[in-house]
């Protein structure tokens, strides 16, 4: 049950978006974020929204999964929405509805809130269609040029993938320790927040100790398998760009050009 954590949000299926190279998905996401940020009117956001819809359709991920990922951010979106309405300083010529609330204020607030939702929905497509392991591989490969300025990219990526590898193991262990402490009469459910946090100390300490023991054993196992971070190391998994990646990049370029065009042209909506 807990071992599902490693895969995070990943939605396993095969689709156009799933098959994209993780590197291009990361770059596309960055480009998408830039696109959403440079859009300064609703037409731009609409274009980004349409792009997002196409991406969701081609990823075969159910829309409900994307919406679920928005749940975490909905509160923040609402919060910025209200703040934006309240702190919008009405300029001359704005239609003030009452007090300091103006029509323009509501429009601006809606604009920022939808931008935020678009950003999160876009990022969720990356995590829904790419396993954390693949994201790590992608990041490692993208950061490779940094090795020239002596950044230990391979080591960082290894740290990341070992962390991912051990999440389910440690989650299982936490589960076991909690049950063991409960059997000894530990109480995790009652009391105020402070006492509940305190109740977790007897879980964290054994967990930490065992993590160190595991680290020691894993170190031995790695040494026994000739671990080196040296330059002679080869890589079995090879990432490769395909026609799919090219098509996606062209679409993204079209989106950005479109948004820039809409920024300049700006057909009056309201």
């Amino acid at each position: 049950m807990l071992s599902d954590i490693t895969f995070g949000q990943f939605y396993p299926t095969t689709s156009f978006v799933h098959k994209l190279d993780p590197r291009s998905k990361i770059i596309l996401l960055i480009a998408y974020i830039v696109a959403v940020f440079i859009a300064d009117n609703f037409w731009g956001l609409l274009a980004a929204f349409l792009f997002l819809c196409v991406a969701i359709a081609f990823s075969k991920v159910p829309v409900s999964a994307v919406i679920r990922s928005l749940k975490a951010i909905i509160f923040l979106a609402l919060f910025t929405f209200i703040l934006n309405i309240l702190f919008y300083a009405p300029k001359e010529g704005d239609t003030v509805l009452f007090w300091r609330i103006s029509k323009e204020g509501i429009i601006t607030a809606t604009f920022f809130a939808s931008r935020l939702l678009l950003l999160v929905a876009g990022s969720s497509i990356l995590t829904l269609t790419t396993t954390p392991v693949n994201i790590t591989d992608g990041i490692e490969s993208l950061l490779k040029p940094l090795t020239y300025i002596k950044v230990p990219v391979h080591v960082l990526a290894l740290v990341m993938s070992i962390a991912l590898r051990f999440i389910p193991t440690l989650a299982d262990e936490t589960d076991r320790i909690i049950r063991a402490q409960k059997a000894r009469g530990a109480d995790f459910e009652s009391g105020n927040i402070l006492s509940r946090v305190k109740a977790f100390i007897p879980v964290l300490i054994p967990l930490l100790i065992s993590a160190f023991r595991r680290a020691d054993e894993l170190g031995n196992a790695m040494d026994a398998r000739c671990y080196t971070d040296g330059k002679t190391r080869t890589k079995y998994k090879k990432l490769s760009f395909t026609a799919r990646d090219l098509v996606s990049v062209i679409l993204m370029a079209a989106l950005i050009t479109g948004i820039v065009f809409l920024n300049i042209y700006d057909p009056i909506l309201f």
Partner: protein
């Protein structure tokens, strides 16, 4: 040819307190392991079994004496630890603490990647290692989803990908259920029989040891006795002193003998016991 030679090997950890005497873990140990042999290394906790294993692939260096693997000494100025480690595959005790990657295939690739093996060859080695350990259908599985026995077979596969000539199982079956234990020992036995792999099985399970070609008994950092299983398990005085038990079948045979059944000595396996019982009961 000797696969492994220990020559007067002593080992101790530096004491933490200055005036404390270091505890000798291995005390002037000398032993040899023939290439292609299946050896069980027995001894109670603290007898130095695991230390031996770690000395064989250079995870530890002897305090004095020399260890050599296929004639290559493990200590000294110009030892190539990589070369030795790639000849000695090791599987450790805890099935959860040996895999580096989340996906089976990536994990097996870890060893050969370190050695700088070209991609295509790594692919071939993964194919081979998965086939030998009968884990082919788990190639793309998540390591965390596998059972203990499967994880240990993946650990064997990871060791095999180094193309080793010696396989050391360092209490690799001690955390497994009987089914997992059987799976793991079967893989090791097949490797020994079919590929001529030298296997050193460090274990607490006497039934497992009874199937080895030869048993080495360690006691207090010294080699107490070596011999074939029937020899070892008939030396009751030595067994009692080193804290070893009899295999289950031998234990049962001994009890039956005490009850007056005329069973021969040196029964080690269920099958042997069954045969003996049939014979002696028919006589009656």
């Amino acid at each position: 040819m000797q696969a492994i030679v220990f020559d007067g090997v002593s080992f101790f950890y530096k004491p933490s307190e200055e005036n404390e005497l270091p505890k000798l873990i291995l005390n002037d140990l000398s032993l040899e392991v023939e290439k292609g042999a299946f050896i069980a290394l027995l001894g109670k906790n603290g007898s130095g079994k695991s230390t031996c294993a770690k000395l064989i692939n250079g995870l530890l260096t002897p305090t004095s004496g020399t260890v050599s693997v296929f004639g290559l000494p493990l200590s000294g100025e110009n030892t190539d630890l990589f070369e030795i480690r790639s000849k000695v595959g090791m599987v450790f005790q805890n099935p959860d603490n040996q895999q580096i990657a989340s996906i089976v295939e990536d994990d097996i690739a870890f060893g050969p990647e370190n050695l700088g093996v070209p991609r295509e060859e790594i692919g071939r080695r993964i194919d081979y290692a998965l086939k030998v350990t009968d884990m082919e259908k788990f190639r793309y599985s998540q390591v965390a989803r596998l059972s203990g026995g499967q994880k240990q077979r993946i650990a064997i596969a990871g060791a095999l990908a180094l193309n080793p000539e010696i396989l050391i199982l360092d209490e690799s079956t001690s955390m497994l259920d009987p089914k997992g234990r059987r799976e793991v020992t079967e893989v090791a036995r097949n490797l020994n029989r079919e590929k001529g792999m030298t296997v050193i099985d460090i274990t607490h399970y006497m039934d497992e040891a009874a199937e080895a070609d030869e048993i080495y008994v360690l006691d207090d950092g010294k080699l107490r006795k070596k011999g074939d299983p029937s020899e070892i398990f008939s030396d009751e005085e030595m067994l009692a002193e080193t804290g070893l038990e009899l295999p289950r079948a031998s234990k049962l045979a001994k009890e039956l003998r005490l009850q007056g059944l005329p069973l021969k000595k040196g029964i080690l396996s269920k099958e042997e016991l069954l045969e003996e019982l049939c014979v002696s009961l028919r006589i009656k």
